[in-house]
Structures are given as C-alpha cells and as structure tokens.
Point group: C2
Chain length 492, copies 2
C-alpha cells in the first residue's frame, strides 16, 4: 500500500480514521472538534450537494440563507427544542478584542459585551420561524418551501471526522404549510428523496422509518429517518425529516388567514442531511485497500497510469492517453492522467486504490504496440487486457456496472444482517456481533431505556414497510403484547 | 407600481433600501447586522457562484473547507492582520447554556468557559496557513490552489443590506507558491477573473488597479481590486486579490524544501468576492421601476402574463404559453408563467418589472387569434407585437442584446464620469457630484489622509492601465511631482 491503513478486521474504527486522513478527505484542525475538509473530500461533498440540490429544486424547493447567529431568547421559545440543544452550543458574548494591557497579544474587550448573547446556530428552526412570521399572512403565502446550505455548530465532547464534529456542513429544509396533511406529506416526500439519493448515488441501501418518541428531534411531533448499515454491522442515521406540527408556529406566533378569513397556526416540517454522509459513504463501501467510491460520486472516475522506461515511451503513451481522455470527456466521464515522473507505477496504483477511483487504465509499451490497455476495476480489484478500440463505451458501461455492483454488495450484506430475534437471550448474544435486530417492543420509553442501558442498542427506527414488520408478538424484553417489529442496533 | 419604491433622484440611498426589500432579495433579521437572503435574492447569488466557481476550477483551483472558528492567539500572529480585524469580531467564550436558576429561560453556564476564546472568522488566512504548514514539505507540494465558499463575520457598526453586513457570504481563495513571481501572477490572474465576471456576467464595467498602501488588506504586501461605479457616481469595491508575500508563511512558519533541498518560506495570495456583489448589481443597473437584471444572472429570464376574461380564454392562452415554454426550455432559457388568478395583469407587469425580469411576454385573446404576442424588454421598457412563429429564437437573440445593452449603458455612464481633474478647487467642487476623479497624487499617506478628511474621497485604485494614467504632473493637493494619475472617489 502507498500509505499504511489498518485492516478492518484488526480495528474497524482505526481503519476508518486512517482512511479519512490518508485518502486526503479531511483532518482535524487546530480548533477542537472542527475539521478541515480537504479538496478531495470536498469534491465528493460537492457531488452530493449537486445531486441533492437538483432533487430539492425538482420538487419545488428554493434555497435561501438565514443568519448564523440565534438570539439566546429564541432558543427558549420551544421548550423541548432548548432542552435538546442548550447543552452543546457555542455562545458569542463579545464583539471586540483589544490589545492586552498586561502583555503581548489580544484579549476580549470587556466593554464590548453583547446585551443578549448569540448562539451559533445548532439548527435554524427558531430564527427561521421568527422570519416566516413576517412572510405569512394568508393561505396564498403558503406553502413556503425553503432549503439552506450552511454550517452549524453543536459542541460535541467526543468528535470523529465527518461522523460527529463540532462544526459540520449540512442542508436544512424548512417548510410551512396550511394543513397538517400537507406537512405530513412533505415530511414523507423528503425522507423518500433522501432514500433515493442514498440508494442511487451513494449505492447505499437504507431502511426508512419513524423514530421512537425518545429518539425524536427536539421539538418534532414525528421524526422520520433513513438508517444505513455500516460494514461492522452498526447503524448510521443518514438523514432525518421532521413533522413539527404547529410547535414552532405556536412558539413564534405564526398564523395565516384561511380561505374563510379565519386565523390558524401554520404547520411545519424540517429535514436535513450533513457531511456525516461522507462518513457513511466511506464505511459502507471501503475495503482494506482504501476507499471504494460509487462512480456517480467519484471526483475522478478513471485514472490513467503510464508505464514506461524511456522518455520516448512516455511521450507515446501519454499521447495515446490524451486521445482516450478526449473520448472519455465527450461522454462526460471524469479522468486524470497521472504523469508524475518521480513515482513508480505500483505506488501510483496503491494511491488511486486508496482514493477509491472506480476504474484504472494502465498502458505500457507493449500494450501500445498491441492496441490494448490494462483495465482494472476498484470494486472487485480485478483487471483485464482490453482493446483500445471502443474503450470509452466499454468504460461507460463498466462505470454503471460498478455502481450497481457496489449497491448489490451493500444490499446483500445489509439483508444478511437484518435478523429477526424473538428472545432476550438471543438479543444479548447477537447485538454485540452487529446487525439490525428486528424485534417486538412494548412501545414504552422505559423498556427502550432499559434495553439501551443493558446492551447500548437503541431503536433505530420503526420501519414504514408494514408488510415486513406488522405482526402480532411479544416484547423481547417485557413479554408484553406488541403489534409490530422495530429495528434495534448499536449506532454511530 | 406594484409596491412603492422611492425614485433614485429623490433619494438614491432610500431607493436602494426599498428595492432590496420590495424585490424580495433580502431583509434585516432579528440579529443585529445579519441579513436574511430571500429565495429570489439567493437565486441570483447562486448564479454568480456557479459562474465564478466554474472560472476558478477552469484555472486549476479546488474547493475545500476550513473551520468557522479561529483561536484568538492565531489572529495575533500577523501584526497588521490583527490590527485590521480585532476591533470587529464576534467572540465565542462559552460552550454551554443552562436553565436560568433565577427565573425562566436559559443563561450562559459559567462553568463552560473556553480556555481560549474563539473568533468567528472575519477571513481565514490564519487558520488556513496554520493548516498549510502541515501540507507543505517540498516544492512538489506546491502550488496549493484552494478556494472556500463560506460565511464570515465582521462586527460592523453601521450595516446595509448586501453592502455592509455583520455576517456575509463570500468565497476566499488562498494559494501557496514556491516563488514570488508565481504568487504575483496568481494575484493578477484572479483580479482579472473578477473583472471578466463583472463585465461579462454582471454587465458591470470595472477599473482594475492596485490599492494605495493605506487601503491595503491587513497583512498584504499588495492589494489589487476591481472598482465599479454606481449610478450615484460613488465607487464600490467589488473584489480584491492580495499578494501576501511571505507574511503569513513567516507568521506560521511555513517553509518548503526547494529543488536544491534548501528551506524557503512559501509565497501567498488570497482573493475574494462576496454578497456585496448583489448590492453592486442592484445599484449599477436598477431604475425607478425596480431591478434591471442582466439576462445571464436572472433567475427568471422570461415571464409570461396571460390576459383573459373568461376561463376558456385563460385555458387557451395558458396552453399556448406552455407551448412557448417548451421551446424556451429546449434553448436553456428560464421562464415563469404567472397564472395567478387573483391579480390584474397590470399589477403583475409592475411586480416583474420590480424584480428585473429581462423579457416579458403578454398574450391576450386577440393576440392568440392573430398569432402574435406582446414582447417587452425590461432594460428599455419598450414593447412590440411579434409573431409567435420563431419566438424562442427571437427571445434568445433579445436576451443577448439586453445583456450587451445593459453593459453598454453602464460603460457609457462610467466613462462619462471618469474625469481628469487638475486643480484642488475643481476637485472639491466635482467630488460632491460623484464620479471617479483621475488626479495626480504625491504618493504619501499623509496627503491621502488629508484629502479624505476634507472631502471623504479615497484613492479607489492606482489603475493598471498605464497608457491612460502614466504621465508626469503635480499632486492635486500638495503640488509635489507625480508620475501617474490615480482614481479618487467617494465610496460605499
């Protein structure tokens, strides 16, 4: 390998940390819990943004931008919301520094204290609903379908690159509706868009479901989510969509005049995915050689590595590669010719494997003579000699095949590891091995808490797929009657 | 008018404020100095971002993301930098709130005080150069060409929507180079990209030049800029590109091994444009009826307003409009059919004029019969009856014509208002009327300060166009010898 990465079997967690850093995706910064997203990592995030943004716009949403800061008093207006966020927020108290009167450097100017402290947004429901109040007068002003791409800050004590950082990037949709029905439909529509995106672009199967009351977003009436399974069998919540009822409308007094001229409170949703998806992407598909990127999100889909001894060989091979590059470009396939002259081909192979580039082309002098190239696929680590003729078409088809294959592998793994469990003994035994355990639950928060205390497992979701889950049974923990199975897992 | 806007002649400043709010671009938020960018305004910003991002990538730059927070001690490392930013920054001192022990609401938890305060980035040179330190070992690691799209905060005391806000959105490029020459070339390349963007997309002529030492970015060796002229004759600095020399490399000890293995300090540039460009766009082209958007940045290029009395008329006209819409769509022209049934056509006309939509199509029952439409252009407020046949081609050509016409008008206005002035009496008389005064200056900061004190005018730039500016003369204020003219103006 170009750079040493711990194997998954040895230490999955270490493998992940290694990969993020060594594949040049991100690194820790000098600021506790805040990460630097490096160009290669950011290029993947941009591809995610591009597709999601398109999907949002196709469903009628517009982007807007709301302030980074939230007045402290706003947070308190929705009781559960403040409960959920007050303990982990960055607080701005002053607006000026001054020269240190007692030595070098600068200190906070005590005379520049803010009248009211400002919170760096952990999420924007409060500032947005305070704004919507002025935008909404009548039913004609509804629905409002806004999305915001932004940074948010939650002061997490234990952070991990992409998975849990103090600052992260995300999008947050905030919609306002005239009816409960319409807001509920929006909540479902958006969780379905997230699921589509996860499946079709990230090649990552997900389970769509509702959170239990205990795991809901602070201030939501219902939280829907997509849950993905990582290769260690742990769950990763990859996106959430909240039906907020009239909670924020009531907290910020947002009413509209209906068609009969009567004032009613507005109904709300909010929904978001974040740079956490980068963590999911890495953990869902990576192997011991590095990242495995689905072609649809790979910043470089094809890398070309020349193999040569003399300058003449190099220039002939590079000429051929530029020809291939043109044919790839005309098909919208992204590529890179790795013409660095100070590194051996084997080193380059390892580096591009580490970075997860889906397809590699190598050409040596004999390949050039024979009109062939060596074509390798990252997902299966296989290679074959193929004709230069028709190469771009072959690669276009191969990229599709890789995209599908990565999904199929993840789906097979996931399905193998969703297991129906009906006894508490089996639950305790299996949960430590990872996977989603499909079990009956008595529906009480108390039982949920007990199970978490004893096993660290939480209810990841109550799946919407009733065909699979709805059946009569007995709670795995208390034996009380239950009408449907839910999914338990240990999560990120 | 659909919504009352003060005329430019009456009060230009009020006209601007009205327009921003009434055209639904942005509004003040509940947080002092922070704005809400509304969907229509954000859609224009997105178009700007899209073009700039493409131009950056075409010239080899990649996007990345660096932390929102900067440790207080970092700011102090570059002496001039901290001088420039310490007095206007938001300071995070705590990381937790708690329930108010003395009443309702939440208060800052005194036990959650940060060891070192964090500054919300006013610009990112310090955190980025602290990061680059670990990325750069040898000449092979250079150049680094990163850009970041981000929010920044500068605690301005007097704010105006888009022009001067506490929080604003921008991009900041930060590059690292092996040689002084290369960094200087990068500085120039980027200011030229900004100028191209201003001219070709914003339809806004700019003067490219260098800032005087006094007006330089805090920490730069040289600051280049583009200066645009607003309709009141004031200058607006629309973008800056800084040659930072080795200042930040020295402050953060960033060295690279050159080809001979010797350690040298790295050379730097940084460059940025912000949501301030939105202010420039509005003020450069708007008229008393509202915004005038250049077609290349208009979220809606063509609006269609049906004129009807009966439901049948409406449905026939809308059918025709959908047909036209398809032909526009196939040419990549954006459109909106305004089918609201509760507003009169005249009201709609005014509203879309206010919003600056470049082209309007109106169709009434008689137009439908005669196979024509009424086609209006926003820039000239003229209309004509034209055949439905070949309409999309005609509109495509018209959009180009409007784009060019808007630029030509702004250019003619700008050129009329760049005036050579050679006596102090004339300077004082003319400067209050607006415009750029091209004058000789003795090159001293003292003279610059005096002129500012007496007239509020500053040196906007020392233009790079030597053909126009290089000539011998005498300083307008002191009479001392001068080798070139510089541009003075009162600025936003």
């Amino acid at each position: 390998m170009a750079k040493e990465v711990t194997s998954r079997a040895e230490n999955y967690s270490q493998w992940y940390n290694n990969l993020v850093v060594k594949a040049d995706l991100a690194e820790n910064s000098a600021v506790r819990g805040c990460m630097v997203i490096k160009p290669y990592g950011y290029a993947i995030w941009e591809k995610m943004q591009h597709e999601l943004d398109r999907m949002f716009k196709e469903t009628g949403h517009s982007n807007a931008y709301f302030p980074l800061f939230i007045p402290k008093s706003f947070l308190s207006k929705e009781a559960e919301h403040v409960e959920g966020f007050a303990k982990e927020c960055a607080v701005v108290t002053h607006h000026r520094l001054m020269n240190n009167p007692d030595g070098p450097g600068v200190v906070v100017d005590p005379s520049a204290r803010l009248e009211e402290e400002l919170i760096v947004r952990p999420t924007s429901e409060t500032i947005i609903w305070n704004t919507y109040k002025n935008w909404i007068k009548s039913w004609r002003d509804l629905p409002i379908l806004c999305n915001q791409w932004a940074n948010v800050v939650r002061w997490e004590m234990r952070t991990r690159l992409f998975l849990r950082t103090a600052e992260f990037l995300w999008q947050e949709g905030h919609t306002a509706h005239a009816t409960e029905q319409e807001a509920m439909e929006e909540t479902e529509k958006m969780v379905n868009i997230y699921a589509d995106f996860a499946r079709n672009f990230m090649a990552m199967p997900v389970v769509i479901g509702h959170k239990s009351a205990h795991e809901r977003f602070a201030g939501a009436v219902d939280t829907m989510c997509i849950e993905a399974m990582m290769q260690d069998g742990k769950a990763l919540q990859a996106g959430t969509s909240h039906f907020l009822g009239q909670n924020f409308a009531k907290a910020f007094d947002v009413k509209y005049a209906n068609k009969d001229g009567q004032l009613e409170y507005v109904w709300a949703t909010s929904w978001g995915v974040s740079t956490r998806l980068m963590g999911a992407l890495i953990m869902a598909h990576g192997d011991d050689n590095g990242l495995v990127l689905p072609p649809k999100l790979a910043p470089i889909q094809v890398v070309m590595v020349p193999i040569f001894k003399s300058d003449e060989e190099m220039s002939n091979i590079l000429a051929k590669m530029r020809e291939i590059a043109d044919s790839l470009k005309s098909r919208g396939i992204s590529y890179k010719i790795d013409d660095r002259d100070n590194l051996r081909p084997g080193f380059k192979f390892s580096e591009w494997e580490l970075k997860g580039v889906p397809v590699r082309i190598a050409i040596g002098p004999r390949d050039l003579e024979n009109g062939v190239v060596e074509l390798s696929r990252r997902d299966e680590l296989t290679k074959e000699s193929v004709p230069q003729e028709g190469l771009a078409d072959r690669i276009a088809a191969l990229l599709d095949e890789i995209q599908n294959n990565i999904y199929a592998k993840a789906l097979a793994f996931r399905d193998r590891n969703i297991i129906k469990v009906d006894t508490w003994e089996e639950f305790k035994e299996r949960i430590v091995q990872g996977g989603f355990l499909s079990c009956h639950w008595d529906g009480t928060e108390e039982t949920e808490e007990r199970i978490k205390e004893e096993t660290k497992a939480t209810i990841r979701c109550i799946p919407i797929d009733t065909a699979v889950c709805e059946e009569e049974g007995k709670c795995i923990y208390t034996g009380r009657p239950s009408h449907r199975r839910v999914l338990f897992a240990i999560s990120y």
